[in-house]
């Protein structure tokens, strides 16, 4: 019996190393360790042994069983690992193939730029004020120091509805309304759609979008305006951006300025975008005219303020390099999905 056990051990362990799949291993287990397996069969024959041999043979039988079990475990381990490696090899992907499209929608470039501008000013303590697009002549012009028949009205190319109602030519009327309803300190931006009677072409649109800002408090200075515009320009066009103010004339501000930013195309050395100037005009600004403050119910001897306004469409075009304004309103999916 001893020899039998020894030869089973030897035979089984030799067989084990040749097994190459998990099913075969199961069969092997059944063949040796199963209820009708060889080892079991031998152990069943133990009763026939003389009592003094039993412990010895029993011990040997256990050793053989343990050896087989350990061998099976190891073989299983080996097979699982091999199978996993085989699977990994088999299912290798060409990771350079395109990803499955997840079609998120996109915001319109004007919204993107507007959101950026809103962020900058919200961070500086501004609120966002809104007002009607169809506006009273009073708020669009008169409250802004542009009386009836003033030549400045000609340059605004206004669409009229009636004598008294018009399509606002700027978002300044929102400021005029806000001043009447709120006491200083005031810090607002007014984004919105505005209208001027320009025929549609690559650089003009009768409908475009503006953001205007208004700050009124005691002791507001032109330095505050310049500092604010610097923060804005760096925020929108990048940290290296410089601004330049040129004296200009607007009815609702005094002193007034046109504001240039250093060209985003060339940084100021001159290129096609800036027509070689190194500067691109992007906004108008100034200290709120005393007449406008007075009309808004604010005492110009106590308070001062600044205001600025810029066209979002043009900034979006500049920022993204869009060369035709009509694209903004055409809404070709291939255009919209670029932003």
């Amino acid at each position: 019996m001893k020899q039998q056990l020894e030869s089973i051990r030897k035979e089984a362990l030799n067989k084990l190393v040749t097994i190459t799949d998990i099913g075969e291993l199961d069969d092997f287990r059944v063949a040796y360790l199963g209820k009708k397996g060889e080892l079991t069969r031998i152990l069943k024959g133990m009763g026939a042994l003389p009592p003094e041999e039993r412990p010895l043979v029993g011990q040997l039988a256990n050793e053989v069983r343990n050896a087989l079990e350990a061998g099976i475990a190891e073989a299983k381990n080996r097979l699982v690992r091999a199978a996993r490696e085989e699977r990994i090899r088999r299912e290798t992907l060409d990771v350079t193939m395109p990803g499955r499209a997840k079609k998120l929608g996109r915001k319109h470039p004007i919204t993107i730029v507007l959101d950026e501008i809103k962020d900058i000013f919200l961070g500086m303590g501004y609120e966002i004020a809104e007002g009607p697009e169809i506006e009273l002549d009073y708020y669009n012009f008169e409250a802004l120091n542009i009386p009836k028949n003033h030549p400045a009205r000609d340059t605004q190319d206004t669409f009229y509805i009636t004598e008294e109602a018009l399509l606002r030519t700027h978002t300044s009327p929102v400021q005029a309304r806000y001043m009447k309803e709120h006491k200083p300190p005031i810090r607002i931006i007014c984004p919105g759609r505005v209208y001027r009677s320009d025929a549609v072409d690559a650089t003009h649109s009768p409908i475009f979008h503006q953001v205007e800002g208004l700050v009124i408090d005691k002791g507001i200075t032109m330095g505050d305006l310049i500092g604010t515009l610097q923060v804005f320009a760096k925020g929108v066009f990048g940290e290296d951006t410089r601004i330049r103010l040129r004296p200009h004339h607007f009815n609702f501000t005094e002193p007034s300025a046109e504001v240039d930013v250093s060209c985003w195309g060339c940084g100021g050395t001159g290129c096609r975008i800036c027509k070689g100037e190194g500067w691109v005009e992007i906004l108008g600004a100034g200290m709120v005219h005393p007449n406008v403050l007075r009309e808004g119910g604010v005492d110009p001897d106590v308070y001062s303020g600044f205001a600025f306004g810029l066209g979002i469409d043009r900034i979006a075009m500049g920022k993204f390099g869009i060369d035709d304004m009509r694209l903004l309103f055409e809404n070709d999916i291939r255009f919209l999905r670029q932003f």
Partner: protein, 804 residues
């Protein structure tokens, strides 16, 4: 305003580099828009005098000339038909540079030629600049000029700077005004214009003519001089060239002088032939009903009673400040002139010039409001030039009807307030220097300043601050950031944040944002099947639109969305998903302003797009906006949509004062576009769209969210499939299931609808997945079975449903 540099130099020394000068002007408020160098590319071209001229021995059309060029006499072969011996011509010498290239010595059929006689074109000059140039051939000087003179000098080829003049500075619509700005910007003195009139004709102007102003409000001042022994002829080159360089066509000596003075001093002038002024009387009045006038351009103008005219005792002889009349203009026969130098109300001139469709150099200036003090100075300058040019004899004195109202002419220079507004620390003395240079008279003790009459734009301390700031340079003001001010909270309102939620949700659902025009054509209503009396046809009408296509403010965004979808479709784009947040405008009776309503518009066609895709986007939006109480109802009445594939969205909106504090309100529709509308708008057959009122959605929305604990006990899933009639709505089945199941039902969802061979005609099988769960224990099978029985009974009872 075009300003020839040499003309400016009459009044100010500009010694700096031209680039620096331009920069100084731009940065002090006179923006330079461009600079034209008329002599650009012209070198070694001189005035030559043709001394001899012979036929070319070997060519019929060529001549061989000996030309005096000052330092020598050169031989030149020319084919020009218009030159003769004794002519002075521009001659490009050997080595000369012209815009067309360099000149070399050449041989024409055996005869050597050392230069080229130039035409206007070869010098790259316009015929407006040299109106006496022949149609064809070489330019011939008609004035005596020394041979050898550089042609740039002889033709006054100058640098011309174009300035953008803002509407508040009509004083800068003049060379003298720009020179004044230049002087301050460069920090050099202004050379004052000294005028001396000899008045050789003697007599007294008031003996020749009288002036009466009927409307001093529209004409505060009218001044006139008389000139006798007038000799009409061309003005000298230098004057013609300056006028042409500044953009005005030379005409004759008198007209040129009046234009010259207008450009130089900014005061428009007019010359009348005094013999044609009936009664020798100028009357400034408004036109009478039915009066007409043929203006100098030969056009007959119908005048109305708001228009100011210059009349004699019988009829109008000019439209004040806009254009003179043909009946009184000067001709070659004119012998006695009345020179007008007047001040008119800017608004009146502006309206008249607009009505008549004439924008003259005069009206452009008058409409900005001119200085009434300058009329006499301009007359004197005119008289001086007439004498200088020998164009006539000036009569003594001026007829001056001055009804100018006195206006504010002093202001205190409060340096502290100026600095406070600018955020600067500029010494008062420096401010005084600036104002003195600007011709303000300053009392250094009281700091009271006399405002020059040409600066009617100066009224308050802000105006003073601008004058100081622009010569200090805006960019020298130290930037600050509201330092020392109370900090303020910057935040979007709830409404603004909710609009962000809408945009973000739309993008997350694959919808791309569109921007379309707010005005549209009244024809669009037909394209979306609206009946002729549909309320949406009541739109705000633009009184001066860009054309019919843009003539009304839109009352619906659907046509624009469909147009965008159709555009994409026509460009072979397979799938398009779009949204827009924008306003519509509804007229309100009895109100000046319409109601502006913000709409959310969705549109889609192509891969994966169907009614339920669209509805899924809407449901996602409801979840994102925190709107829990809403329902979809079949919508069969909307003419733009497919009646069987459209739903309206109803949301519960809080309304104070009604029984449970809410109302179920229809806030929009979603569905498939009506096949007829899709065809008319050239959209794909299956096009889906939705429109919602944003204000109502926001009203129903909330940012509030309440946490529900995650389930701790297992769920019991069950399925149920019932056969019902086709017309039964799934939403009603779900409602019934929920109601019958009670609290244990956690979720119910439709997972299949089947119609076909195993279901009778007119019926459908609907299958639902139900999830039962209790928050505090494991449910027993029997409980769930009982619930399922209740559910089935309820469905059988309400919908005649049969278990499948």
């Amino acid at each position: 305003m075009k300003a020839p540099l040499n003309w400016l130099k009459d009044f100010v020394d500009i010694k700096t580099d031209i680039k620096e000068y331009i920069n100084a002007m731009t940065m002090s408020g006179s923006k330079v828009e461009g600079i034209e160098d008329m002599g650009e590319g012209i070198e070694k071209v001189v005035v030559g005098k043709i001394l001899e001229m012979e036929d070319h021995p070997n060519a019929d059309r060529l001549k061989v000339c000996k030309v005096d060029v000052g330092s020598e006499v050169v031989q030149v072969v020319t084919g020009a038909p218009n030159v003769k011996t004794g002519d002075l011509i521009p001659l490009a010498l050997v080595g000369a540079k012209l815009p067309g290239g360099e000149i070399k010595a050449t041989t024409f059929r055996g005869v050597e030629s050392y230069g080229m006689m130039c035409s206007v074109e070869e010098l790259n000059l316009s015929r407006d600049y040299l109106p006496d140039a022949p149609e064809d051939g070489v330019y011939v000087f008609s004035e005596e000029i020394k041979p050898g003179t550089d042609v740039k000098e002889a033709l006054d080829l100058d640098k011309v700077i174009e300035f953008e003049i803002t509407s508040n500075r009509p004083d800068c619509l003049s060379i003298y005004g720009l020179a004044r700005e230049s002087a301050v910007a460069l920090g050099v003195p202004l050379k004052k214009l000294e005028i001396r009139v000899k008045e050789e004709a003697g007599g007294s102007a008031s003996d020749y003519a009288s002036i009466e102003i009927e409307n001093p409000g529209l004409c505060p001042r009218y001044s006139a001089r008389i000139v006798t022994d007038v000799k009409i002829g061309p003005s000298p080159y230098w004057m013609q060239h300056r006028l042409a360089a500044a953009g005005m066509r030379p005409i004759n000596n008198i007209v040129d002088i009046t234009n010259y003075v207008m450009l130089e001093l900014g005061q428009p002038m007019h010359a009348f032939d005094l013999s044609k002024i009936a009664g020798s009387k100028i009357i400034v009045r408004t036109a009478r009903e039915g009066e007409v006038l043929i203006t100098l351009d030969g056009q007959e103008r119908k005048l109305d009673t708001d228009m100011l005219v210059i009349a004699d005792s019988e009829r109008p002889v000019g439209v004040a400040g806009v254009m003179g009349g043909e009946n009184s203009g000067i001709t070659d026969e004119t012998r006695t002139l009345l020179l007008e130098s007047a001040n008119f109300n800017g608004t009146s001139i502006r309206i008249t010039s607009k009505k008549l469709g004439i924008r003259s150099e005069a009206s452009i200036r008058f409409e900005k409001g001119l200085d009434p003090e300058i009329t006499v100075k301009a007359l004197d300058r005119c008289a001086e030039l007439i004498e200088l040019l020998g164009a006539g004899k000036v009569v003594c004195g001026i007829v001056d009807c001055n009804m100018t109202r006195k206006r504010q002419d002093t202001i205190k220079l409060d340096a502290d307030r100026v600095n406070a507004l600018l955020g600067t620390d500029i010494p008062a003395e420096k401010m005084v220097d600036i104002f003195r240079a600007l011709e303000f008279e300053v009392d250094p003790v009281t700091m009271m300043m006399k405002i020059p009459s040409f600066r009617s734009d100066i009224e308050n301390v802000a105006d003073l601050a601008e004058e100081v700031a622009r010569f200090h340079d805006y960019n020298n003001i130290k930037p600050s950031l509201l330092s020392g001010k109370e900090s303020m909270r910057g935040r979007k309102s709830c409404k603004q944040r909710m609009e962000d939620v809408i945009r973000n949700t739309m993008c997350a659902c694959g919808m791309n944002e569109a921007y379309t025009f707010s005005f549209t054509s009244p024809k669009v209503f037909d394209s979306i099947n609206l009946s002729q009396d549909h309320p949406l046809r009541n739109a705000v009408v633009i009184s001066n639109p860009l054309g019919e296509d843009y003539s009304i403010m839109r009352t619906t965004t659907l046509p624009d969305m469909l147009r965008v979808l159709a555009t994409n479709h026509s460009r072979k784009i397979e799938t398009a998903r779009l949204f827009e947040l924008s306003y519509v405008y509804h007229p309100v009776d009895g109100q000046d302003l319409p109601e502006e309503k913000k709409l959310l518009t969705l549109g889609m066609y192509g891969e994966g797009c169907d009614f339920f895709e669209l509805k899924g986007v809407v449901e996602e939006l409801m979840a994102a906006m925190g709107i829990a109480d809403y329902e979809f109802k079949p919508e069969r009445e909307d003419p733009s949509f497919h009646p069987g594939r459209t739903a309206s969205l109803l949301v519960k909106i809080p309304v104070p004062g009604v029984p449970d504090g809410t109302v179920l309100k229809k806030v929009g529709v979603l569905g498939e576009i009506h096949p007829e509308a899709a065809e008319k708008t050239e959209c794909p057959e299956r096009t889906y769209a939705a429109i919602f009122e944003v204000a109502s959605l926001i009203h129903a929305s909330t940012f509030a969210r309440k946490f529900r604990p995650l389930p701790r006990f297992p769920a019991v899933p069950r399925d149920i499939a019932v056969v019902v009639r086709d017309e039964v709505y799934v939403a009603d089945l779900i409602k019934a299931i929920s109601k019958a199941a009670g609290d244990m039902l956690e979720d119910v969802s439709l997972f299949d609808v089947y119609k076909g061979s195993q279901v009778p005609e007119g019926m459908k099988s609907t299958a639902f997945a139900l999830t039962f769960r209790s928050p505090d224990r494991t449910l027993k099978d029997e409980e769930v079975n009982k619930a399922m029985e209740r559910i089935l009974k309820s469905l059988e009872h309400q919908f005649e449903a049969k278990l499948r």
